[in-house]
């Protein structure tokens, strides 16, 4: 299930942030050439960001992207073709409709520095949710024309490594070979975190939580199997005694118990694996069909070889560890246990004064006796119960943590925001009247360009700012 969720997360992250691992800022032709030719690089492409521009008078985000990297950045051509000529551009589909444009229409594009030029629409690409929501269309030029149009050298060379490449190592190699300083390399932290190749704090934190939970589950598993085994061994003390009487050696008995465990495991593992797959499938299906907007892209059938292998290994490991002590115990049974009973149970007190039966009813007294007189049983039972409580609490914390990280805890966070540039005059009254609405409030904002004296910023502030923007 974890694997399914991670895969789903990966799809989501690629969808939201793009399918690249690292980006080299302002890469030169030579650097690009060298990176592209590396054996561990699957794909690489140039991405240029020109910021805001006006298309037929409407504000838009202007950029340029190498065609080979477009699919990895979720740019999917839906109409026409990718811009290649100097005067060609590509627009989001919703924006085409919005602006009343068709492929091959001519548009006017003016850039911040005052340059204005006429372009031909060569094609349209699929809507990007975030841009559509913001109401600012994305406009893509061909890389070659972009270079001529604007001379701001702000480009990113996006690099997608092949599967199973140690990205941190590869990155270090690139940096060393091409002599690229740290601040020219940006990471797609979200993607790196999901594939477990990040050094990012939050990601590592999540993995650590996972590791702790994993250990707890492992311990609980060991305890449970150990307990069951122990009880089954205790029940058969007489039989082990008998086997010793008729000549079984200690190591033979030890082997016997271990084989027994192994055999049970070989039966239990396939059942566990199949049940696990079914449960994963079921959970995925529930998520997919009951919450299709959020989890629509979760893979339904998800056979993770790694997951199954891990499950099998963990199963074997738990049984191996859990069998060890009971096997030892069975081996240490003296042959005399075949004839004499109740030697294996350790009792707390040498003498029993019989107070309990005087204070309590006999059934209470015997219950207390049974619970406390057998040391080992008491210890194991309490441990098992304690661990199940720990796991329960642990998962609760984990779930809470996920909950908080997904949702801001600020009380003023709205559930729904309605945005309009024209204003929402009588909407306030209507909304407040709806049943189930707790609060309705309005806010307005606008952007203003301002200048300030950068020299007056303290070093600390700058540092904080940079760290902050990186984490975003």
């Amino acid at each position: 299930m974890l694997d399914a969720l991670l895969k789903f997360e990966k799809i989501q992250v690629i969808h939201d942030y793009g399918n690249f691992h690292i980006a080299i800022k302002n890469a030169s032709e030579e650097e690009m050439q060298l990176i592209r030719s590396r054996i561990d690089v699957q794909n690489a492409g140039l991405w240029m960001d020109f910021g805001k521009a006006l298309i037929n008078g409407r504000e838009c985000e202007l950029g340029a992207l190498d065609q080979n990297f477009a699919p990895d950045m979720n740019v999917e051509l839906t109409e026409g073709r990718y811009p290649t000529e100097k005067n060609e551009l590509m627009l989001e589909q919703w924006a085409m409709k919005d602006l009343g444009l068709e492929v091959d229409d001519r548009v006017n594009l003016s850039v911040d520095n005052g340059t204005a030029k006429e372009f031909v629409i060569s094609g349209a690409y699929a809507d990007l949710g975030s841009r559509k929501a913001a109401g600012i269309p994305g406009v893509l030029l061909s890389v070659s024309s972009a270079k001529e149009l604007i001379n701001i050298e702000k480009n990113y060379y996006l690099v997608l490594f092949k599967d199973r490449v140690k990205i941190m190592k590869a990155e270090a190699e690139i940096k060393k070979e091409l002599n690229i300083p740290d601040d020219r390399v940006e990471h797609n932290d979200q993607l790196l975190a999901v594939i477990g190749q990040s050094t990012n704090k939050t990601a590592v934190g999540i993995y650590q939580t996972g590791a702790i939970l994993f250990c707890m589950v492992l311990i609980a598993g060991i305890m449970m199997i150990y307990n069951t085994f122990n009880i089954s061994v205790m029940e058969r003390i007489r039989q082990f005694g008998l086997l010793r009487c008729i000549g079984a050696s200690r190591s033979q008995i030890k082997k016997m118990v271990k084989r027994e465990g192994l055999l049970i495991t070989t039966k239990a593992i396939p059942i566990g694996v199949i049940a696990g797959i079914l449960v994963t499938f079921l959970c995925s299906a529930i998520l997919k069909y009951f919450n299709s907007s959020l989890f629509g892209e979760i893979p339904l059938f998800n056979l993770s070889i790694i997951g199954i292998a891990a499950g099998v290994t963990v199963g074997m490991l738990t049984v191996f560890i859990a069998c060890h002590l009971p096997a030892k115990k069975a081996a240490s049974v003296s042959p005399i246990n075949a004839v004499v009973e109740n030697i294996g149970i350790k009792i707390f007190k040498q003498k029993k004064r019989g107070y309990l039966t005087k204070i309590f009813h006999v059934e209470t007294a015997m219950g207390i006796n049974n619970a406390f007189m057998k040391k080992k049983t008491l210890f194991l039972m309490s441990c098992s119960i304690a661990i199940s409580i720990i796991i329960f609490l642990g998962f609760q914390v984990f779930v809470d943590f996920m909950h908080y990280s997904l949702k801001t805890t600020k009380p003023y966070t709205p559930d729904i925001s309605l945005t309009s540039e024209q204003g929402l005059d009588n909407l306030y009254g209507k909304l407040s009247g709806l049943s189930g609405v707790k609060k309705v409030y309005g806010r307005m904002f606008g952007h203003v360009d301002a200048t300030f004296d950068a020299a007056r910023l303290t070093e600390d502030y700058k540092k904080n700012c940079r760290g902050h923007s990186k984490n975003q």
Partner: protein, 227 residues
């Protein structure tokens, strides 16, 4: 030839107030092929004596020589092997392995020794003890008398130096008890085995070559049986 010699066997349970002397300076010997019956009231130390002879328990002091070997001088590992080759046990509660069938139960001591059972001998044992028909049955499908006969066959399977039986008829009715004792005596004679048997029944004691009486941990010889 002496198969079994005990020298000044003492066994004390507990310490201080609760100290119990179960056996006091027991010395006797048994020749090959003898049938010894041990009698005595409950708690007199009969079972303790048998457990010591079978090396199931360790004595407080004294020695046991079985087939010329000092049993308690052996290490645990050696003792396991020695036990499976030289001592056969028959218990009051039959003590068969529930998940093995009659034949498997009988040859189990041989299998534990990684030996191949001699088919002819095992078939003969099954025949003598009237178990041929039951060869593939599981213990819980057998009556008490049948189960005890399987246990006797198991004790005989390895042709041990000595067979120890602790009240083998304790859980059986009189008819079955008589059958079992007769079979035991017969097979012991047929295969020239040495048998030491605890019994409460004076009649069965009279089948034996010698009878030992245990009372308060002291062993006395009561002389031969009827024969």
């Amino acid at each position: 030839m002496k198969v079994l010699i005990t020298e000044n066997l003492c066994k004390t349970y507990g310490a201080g107030e609760t100290e119990v002397e179960a056996l006091k300076n027991v010395s006797f010997s048994v020749s090959k092929g003898e049938f010894i019956a041990i009698v005595g009231p409950s708690g007199s130390g009969k079972s303790t004596l048998l457990n010591l002879i079978g090396a199931l328990d360790t004595p407080t002091s004294g020695k046991v020589f079985l087939d010329g070997k000092d049993v308690f001088a052996m290490k645990e590992k050696e003792l396991s092997v020695f036990r499976r080759r030289n001592i056969g046990f028959v218990f009051q509660a039959y003590n068969l392995v529930p998940e093995l069938n009659v034949e498997e139960n009988i040859i189990l001591p041989l299998l534990l020794d990684y030996r191949k059972p001699e088919k002819k001998y095992i078939d003969e044992l099954l025949n003598v003890l009237g178990l041929s028909e039951r060869r593939l049955h599981l213990p819980h499908q057998l009556s008490g008398g049948q189960q005890q006969r399987v246990a006797i066959a198991r004790a005989l399977a390895t042709r041990p130096a000595i067979i120890l039986a602790d009240e083998p008829t304790g859980n059986l009715d009189s008819q079955n008890s008589r059958d079992v004792i007769n079979l035991m005596k017969m097979s012991v004679e047929k295969y020239e085995q040495t048998l030491i048997m605890i019994t409460h029944n004076q009649n069965f004691a009279s089948f034996a070559d010698r009878v030992l009486n245990v009372e308060d941990g002291v062993v006395t010889e009561l002389g031969g049986g009827q024969r």
